[in-house]
């Protein structure tokens, strides 16, 4: 197992290398550049734009630029952002954590609600509660995240219970650790709920389907026939098998931790990566985009690896080596 993990980790390097090269070429070769807005400013001369181009070495050949970026990468320098004039790592830094907090909260909420709900629905198949859950799930699946967020914000503004966007209260810095935790929790409530609603609908249906399939298997019949208590039948025999396919999904969710919420972050003024990256791509802030793509790529690979390893542990049929 360890060797397998090591082998997988080794493949990360070439994948990321190719990814970065492709991103770099795409960013450079598509039309436009970060100084296009400057060109449309009547008060900025072409000489000044020349100076910007020189400053960021955009006048050098493409491959020279790429390799100088790559060499810096080995010293853990990700280059400078054109717009912020500071190292990319400093721009991304805190925002990375913020996005992670939001995604994690939504992940916990989604799984925490969807799994029990799916199991409950499966055990009460075709009863009125099950029908109700399935009906609400359809609606949840069909509601766009940004719309749900707007509704929730409107509700918050009318009721005054929750803050309208943002991540910290104004007096956050003066709070103690417990107050800080609850302050962030209050702020994360709306965006996390908006982000989770449609995934709860989807995941709940998958869980219910898996559970029903497993409950129809013969070994469940056997377990019941030999007189095991119903609780043990369901929770230690059925559930373990029903949840396996979901582990793969969890792996992908891990990869999406940093990228899934750009629009929502904008609506809820969540100080995360999403909005930053959106503008970076639009305005061709090349190194900022590269850093974020590398990060997402890295997480995708790690997420997949994690799912595979988990699966091997959970499912005795899966073995990666003799």
């Amino acid at each position: 197992m360890l060797r397998y993990i090591l082998r997988r980790l080794l493949t990360i390097l070439p994948i990321l290398l190719v990814m970065s090269l492709l991103t770099f070429i795409l960013m450079q070769k598509t039309s436009g550049s970060f100084y296009d807005t400057l060109k449309l400013n009547p008060q900025i001369s072409p000489e000044t734009i020349e100076r910007y181009i020189k400053l960021y070495q955009l006048d050098k050949p493409l491959l020279v630029q790429y390799f100088s970026w790559l060499t810096n990468l080995f010293h853990f320098e990700f280059g400078y952002s054109f717009f912020y004039n500071i190292p990319v790592a400093d721009v991304i830094g805190g925002r990375l954590w913020n996005t992670f907090v939001l995604s994690l909260a939504s992940l916990i909420l989604t799984w925490g609600v969807a799994i029990p709900l799916g199991i409950y629905a499966a055990l009460h198949r075709n009863k009125i509660t099950d029908r109700l859950i399935q009906f609400t799930s359809y609606i949840a699946l069909a509601s766009p995240t940004f719309f749900v967020a707007m509704l929730l914000l409107y509700f918050a503004s009318q009721s005054g219970i929750l803050p309208l966007g943002g991540m910290h209260s104004a007096n956050y810095d003066g709070m103690n650790i417990i107050e800080k935790f609850f302050d962030v929790l209050r702020h994360v409530a709306i965006p996390a709920t908006a982000l989770s609603i449609s995934s709860i609908g989807a995941l709940q249906r998958i869980m219910r389907g898996n559970m029903l399939e497993v409950l129809g298997q013969q070994y469940i019949l056997t377990a019941r026939a030999k007189g095991l208590p119903e609780n043990r039948v369901i929770y230690s025999h059925a559930l373990r098998n029903a949840i396996n396919p979901l582990v793969t999904i969890l792996g992908y969710e891990f990869a999406g931790l940093l990228s899934g919420a750009a629009l929502l972050e904008i609506i809820c003024s969540w100080p995360g990566l999403g909005a930053l990256m959106l503008t970076a791509v639009q305005s061709k802030d090349i190194y900022l985009v590269m850093a974020s793509f590398l990060l997402s790529g890295f997480l995708l690979i790690i997420g997949n690896l994690l799912a595979d390893v988990l699966l091997a542990r959970l499912d005795p049929r899966i073995r990666y080596e003799k």
Binding site: D36, P42, T48, D90, N98, G165, L276
Partner: protein, 570 residues
């Protein structure tokens, strides 16, 4: 008790009472309190010299000052860090006498060295990329900036430069904080967002207190600020300015209606949502007049040849139409400005007829050629010039039997422009022109305008100001933003030649009245020749909470240009 007779004395007392209650309680300004504003994006840095866009200037304008400042109400230049100034007979040498006793907000004194440093070591530094350099460079020549004594600075200009005093609102930066970074050639990357707030040192009314990326930045009162109010109070009155970073306008509006935020800038479309809540929310909506800047249709009049392919940039057939003044005049008569204002702005807009905005004060010329919306007239102009439907297919053809068909673009990100373009397209179609609308990505559009020149007609807007000379890059025929035919070696037409002359004369004419005559003529020429066919401008609408005193919102500088004088009614 008998009713009191209405003697003059009783009346007087009653009147006095009435006055007492009617006189606003905020007659005397008071100190303290915060104002909470929103910003649509993070600042990009705290470095005013390398700043490339407005979200940065939103912060730095509170922290830094120039030698002069523009009174946003009267639009006149007033002293700021310089107490007074003199200009030599020939208009080339300007001497500024700095205000004594001004301190940087870290306690260091402000001196002539800081001014000289800002110009010679920052703006004119070849290693530093800054748009300020373009303002202080005339015909590739820079100004000579010298220290006379600690409080006197002399500027020697290569030529007469009329906008000089206005340009001197350029922010001055502290030498004692930045000299090291310049010496180490690190200035381009100095004072970025990762700088501790206490390091950002200015002379302005406020100083940076904290910044939380993506969430908020807070400015606090600078107790060392030099300015006094008319009553002699040490300014500013407010303790704190809080900017919340809210990208989504709907969220910002909710925050405003909720009372969390004190101000929101509106477009006409949002007016009906906000206005009815005025009393309940205790705020007022101000209409400060038309926006600065311009919005227009431009046709490609480039007759140049692509050096790589040896083909003309514009198909000669189309070029003939676009160069034809009758063609452009007909289009001008097909711009339905009322409909645009009604549909896009809820009536809160202004028709634009001249390059200078109505809010620009002295340089705005109202007596330019105006084109009313009249499709019949437009049709007649086209028919007289030989554009008629010759084969009965519904589209008009030029005298050489080519169907009038061209591409019409704008940038896809700007919803309002896309809608303006679609209204114009509709009217041009009913004139019989076959107009193919293409919505392009902003970057692609700029590339077309700047380097490939392969476009036919575009709807676009530019930022503007009150100083006509700062539009030189657009109007002088050598300019890179002379969009209809950029970077000409010699002016292609007589009227472009005349505009070139006006811009060269205008910048050297120090007599404001004589300058106005020149720029008035320029605006008339533009309205007759229609290189840009103007559309409509938005009104600047500001919704501001009623608890503030001394508010003087203007279109030029927004609602809070006099932040240091604004106070909270007690």
């Amino acid at each position: 008790m008998a009713p009191t007779p209405l003697t003059p004395k009783v009346l007087l007392v009653a009147l006095a009472f009435l006055f007492f209650f009617l006189t606003p309680a905020h007659a005397k300004p008071s100190y303290g309190g915060s104002i909470v504003l929103t910003s649509t994006s993070d600042p990009k840095s705290f470095n005013d010299i390398t700043a490339k866009e407005t979200s940065t200037r939103e912060v730095t304008s509170h922290i830094f000052e120039g030698l002069t400042t523009m009174n946003a109400v009267t639009l006149q230049v007033e002293p700021a860090l310089a107490e007074r100034w003199e200009v030599s007979e020939d208009g080339h040498t300007w001497t500024f006498y700095l205000r004594p006793g001004v301190k940087w907000n870290d306690g260091e004194p402000f001196t002539a060295d800081d001014v000289v440093f800002t110009f010679n070591d920052l703006i004119y530094n070849d290693d530093i990329a800054s748009s300020s350099r373009d303002i202080f460079t005339i015909e590739d020549k820079t100004f000579k900036v010298e220290k006379v004594d600690d409080l006197t600075v002399r500027f020697t200009l290569p030529v007469k430069f009329a906008p000089f005093l206005r340009a001197m609102s350029q922010a001055i930066l502290p030498k004692h904080k930045l000299a090291k970074a310049v010496a180490e050639k690190k200035f381009n990357f100095t004072w970025g967002l990762d700088t501790p707030p206490s390091e950002i040192v200015g002379t302005g009314a406020f100083k940076l207190s904290s910044y939380r990326p993506g969430e908020r930045f807070v400015l606090v009162r600078n107790p060392l600020y030099w300015k006094r109010s008319k009553e002699g109070d040490a300014l500013p009155y407010l303790d704190r300015i809080v900017y919340l970073i809210v990208q989504n306008l709907d969220t910002a509006m909710l925050k405003f209606l909720d009372g969390e935020v004190d101000y929101i800038g509106l477009r006409g479309m949002e007016y009906p949502l906000i206005k009815p809540n005025e009393r309940k929310g205790n705020f007022t909506v101000y209409d400060a007049g038309p926006d600065f800047g311009s919005s227009f249709v431009v046709f490609n009049q480039n007759t140049g040849v692509n050096p790589k392919t040896q083909k003309p940039f514009v198909d000669p057939v189309k070029s003939k139409w676009f160069l034809d003044i009758n063609f452009r005049r007909a289009v001008a008569h097909a711009i339905d400005k009322n409909k645009m204002m009604e549909i896009l702005m809820n009536g809160f807009g202004y028709p634009q007829d001249s390059d200078m905005s109505k809010s620009a004060g002295v340089f705005y010329n109202p007596n330019v050629e105006k084109y009313d919306y009249d499709l019949l007239k437009a049709k007649k102009i086209l028919a007289d010039a030989g554009y008629i439907d010759r084969n009965g297919d519904g589209w008009i053809e030029d005298p050489e039997e080519h169907t009038v068909e061209f591409n019409f673009s704008t940038n896809s990100g700007n919803n309002e422009r896309v809608q303006i373009a679609s209204i114009i397209r509709h009217d041009l179609q009913s004139l019989g022109m076959k107009v193919n609308f293409l919505s392009l990505e902003f970057n692609t559009l700029v590339t077309k305008l700047n380097s490939t020149f392969d476009w036919d007609a575009i709807v676009l807007g530019l930022t503007g100001g009150i100083e006509p000379h700062f539009g030189k890059n657009v109007w002088h025929s050598t300019g890179g933003l002379h969009m209809w035919y950029p970077m000409q070696k010699t002016p292609a037409t007589d009227w472009e030649k005349r505009i070139d002359e006006i811009f060269i004369q205008g910048v050297q004419e120090l007599d404001e009245n004589k300058r106005k005559v020149l720029y008035d003529e320029f605006q008339v020429i533009v309205s007759q020749q229609l290189p840009l066919i103007y559309t409509v401008l938005n009104s600047d609408l500001y919704a501001i909470r009623n608890r503030f005193g001394n508010l003087k919102p203007t279109s030029y500088a927004g609602p809070f240009h006099n932040m240091e004088e604004i106070y909270i009614n007690k």
